[in-house]
């Protein structure tokens, strides 16, 4: 009896774990009761926002909520900035509702987790497609999960603005990539190697991920064009944490810079480099996107590193400063640079719904195609294939005080030059 009880306890515990909210995507079907709750929240929010400033009263949105779902990797490889990205989208929805909603109706948003796993993302895409109340989807944020989701979302004509950088995600006419591509980041880094770091030889380490491969390809091709000698080219196996065998090879090859096209272990690589006495300039993609995690894990070892970002310094523009203050006030933490883009591109999606004047998916796709949006971070319009027209790429150098914003350049794609931002 005692034994059976124990077995039962274990089964219950395992079931409870498998039902953990962070790991289980369960799309929500909005009921009438929930719509009323949303309306109530919207009303209360408006009361809070409107009353103190005595601004003209904004009509409270009424009717069935417009469902715009956010899909991001809330567990897995890059959770911290993505969690903040989710919060930015929730904040954007709340502010939209406080300002009268969308088409006179409240916006309902929910963040769902693809777990950084393609299989989980595919299941999620099917579930979203099966819910006719969902009018559009923002996300996801990794090419490895966005690529398998794409055809499913295209089949159900789901308007989709992802935050994934690989050009491999393109193909369906429903996808609008509002960010720079992975290849352009790689090209920018090769230019930075030559023009900012003064390198004549390079080595690269890259993950086997759709985006990281494109980072590598862009860097490799551009390096050859610039006459940089590629002394080492090292792909990584998944989950590698011990880079010393590869770094031993690179140390012997003695390049001027080491470029790492990786998501997660970029901090480990630079720490192990310094530990082995390697003094080369470290170039890293996405270092600014998830600055906190990179700096937290790499510390002083990363000082002097050059990192790409899609966001200009956030402490200059009044609109960005205001966003940061609102974000900090609401969530108690400052936004990471990438969070500004999530906020902007989620609002871009809402703007398309507004311009479409309807929640019909096909009409929203048409409106997205005609986008000319002046966002918080950069203006967005799309090419015929759904890629963004000239999205900016910035290069940052990490300072001894572990901040990124003192030395920043905007990469000029046409010439490969860098214009100082500060």
């Amino acid at each position: 009896m005692k034994g059976k009880l124990l077995v039962l306890t274990v089964i219950v515990a395992l079931v409870a774990t498998s039902c953990a909210p962070a790991a289980t995507p369960t799309p929500q079907v909005i009921t009438k009761v929930e719509t009323k709750i949303v309306e109530k929240i919207v009303k209360e929010t408006q009361e809070v926002v409107v009353a103190p400033t005595a601004a003209p009263t904004v009509a409270a949105p009424t009717g069935k909520a417009i469902k715009v779902i956010v899909v991001l990797p809330l567990t897995g490889n890059i959770t911290y900035p993505m969690d903040l990205g989710c919060k930015a989208c929730l904040m954007a929805a709340e502010e939209t509702n406080a300002a009268g909603g969308l088409l006179g109706r409240p916006v309902f948003t929910r963040c769902m987790d693809d777990g950084s796993k393609p299989a989980m993302a595919v299941t999620l895409a099917h579930e979203l497609c099966d819910d006719p109340d969902i009018v559009a989807m923002y996300g996801t944020s990794e090419s490895s999960t966005q690529v398998p989701m794409g055809p499913i979302l295209d089949k159900c004509r789901m308007p989709n603005v992802p935050h994934a950088f690989s050009t491999l995600i393109m193909g369906g006419t429903n996808i609008f990539q509002a960010t720079p591509s992975c290849i352009s980041f790689g090209i920018a880094m090769a230019d930075a190697a030559k023009k900012l770091a003064g390198a004549k030889s390079v080595a690269l380490i890259w993950e086997q991920d759709p985006c990281a491969e494109q980072y590598g390809r862009g860097f490799r091709t551009r390096s050859q064009e610039l006459g940089l000698e590629i002394r080492g080219d090292y792909p990584l196996s998944e989950g590698t944490v011990d880079f010393k065998p590869i770094l031993t090879q690179i140390k012997a090859q003695n390049p001027d810079v080491v470029f790492s096209a990786v998501t997660q272990p970029k901090a480990l690589i630079v720490k192990q480099m310094r530990e082995m006495g390697m003094k080369q300039t470290y170039l890293v993609t996405e270092g600014v996107e998830d600055a906190k995690e990179f700096i937290n894990n790499a510390g002083q070892a990363a000082v002097g590193s050059l990192a790409t970002g899609e966001v200009p310094p956030t402490d200059k523009d009044p609109a960005m400063i205001s966003f940061a203050q609102r974000f900090q006030a609401k969530w108690g933490v400052p936004p990471e640079p990438t969070v500004y883009v999530h906020y902007q591109n989620y609002l871009l999606l809402l703007d398309a719904i507004k311009r479409a004047g309807t929640t019909d998916r096909e009409a929203i796709i048409k409106a997205l195609r005609e986008t000319d949006y002046k966002g918080l971070v950069y203006p967005v319009s799309f090419n015929a294939d759904g890629t963004a027209k000239d999205p900016p790429v910035y290069v940052y150098r990490l300072q001894p005080d572990l901040t990124f914003t003192k030395e920043v350049w905007k990469w000029v794609k046409a010439t490969g030059d860098f214009a100082p931002v500060n």
């Binding site: 124990l6 080219d233 090292y234 894990n297």
Partner: protein, 320 residues
Amino acid sequence: MVMFVQQLVNGLCIGCIYGLIALGYSMVFGVLRMVNFAHSEFFMLGPMAAFIVLLRFGIIGVTQRSTTLATSLSPIQAVGAVGLGLLVAVLFCGALGFVTERITVRPLRQKASVILIVGSLGTQIFLRNFAMLFLGRDQRGFPRLLPTAFYEIKGVSFTSLQVVLVAITVVLMVGLVYFVNKTYLGRCIRSAAEDNEVAGLMGVNVNFIISLVFVLGPALGGVSGVLSSMYFEHIYYATGALFGIKAWTAAIIGGIGSIPGAMAGGLVVGLLETMGAGYLGILSGGRLGTEFKDLFAFAVMILMLLFRPQGIFGEAVKEN
């Protein structure tokens, strides 16, 4: 030649970590003839527990930007901090191993072996999700605790931490070999590993011995986790899986159930991995890149299973 020796140093260090984890797999398999998949999670939970305690004691500090030592430590304090971290990992993982055995192993022990394996898989998933939910989904920095000195001898570089890592591994292995071969409890473990039922008939409290193995194995996993976290300066809820599979491979190569075998297997896997990363591209003329570094270790495991299934140190046993 310098590069070859440097790769040997690299392989030795990572091999020590694999070896310590492999010891836990090997001990449990030796006594119960089961693969304890949950073992890899003790490797992850040990440093997590140490991290929390060191944070509470104010030894390490987490700022928005980094995880560092909260105050500069004197050499004695640094050794004390490492000792505290290891002790916490031993106690926490040992206790958790004990609880795991009582909840998920003992009630299922008389059932078919597949049920035991499913039970251990479930425990692994539970522990990993537990860590993710309660300790966070981000990678965190884990300070070195010890001041790290860098040495270079004829072009081959190594750190004081690498020396400490190897030294602790050697001490633990020698201690464990002594415990198993020279003490009463060790003899009981060996007899239970030989035959549970006969050991019971001879007066050995088999339940106690199994519990003991489930305390020792996870405690070693916790120690290796802390050493690994200091070495790589990070902790992450998902690290257990990858190290676990390598350590399991090491246990098979070394001879499952054998303590020196587990260590030897760990070193073999570590060396094959580093040599693979270092020389695969050169040996294959660039056709195979460093991403295939695990090819060596797993190929050796398959060959070992085909031609010497008892491993390097294991003894061949004929089935009646």
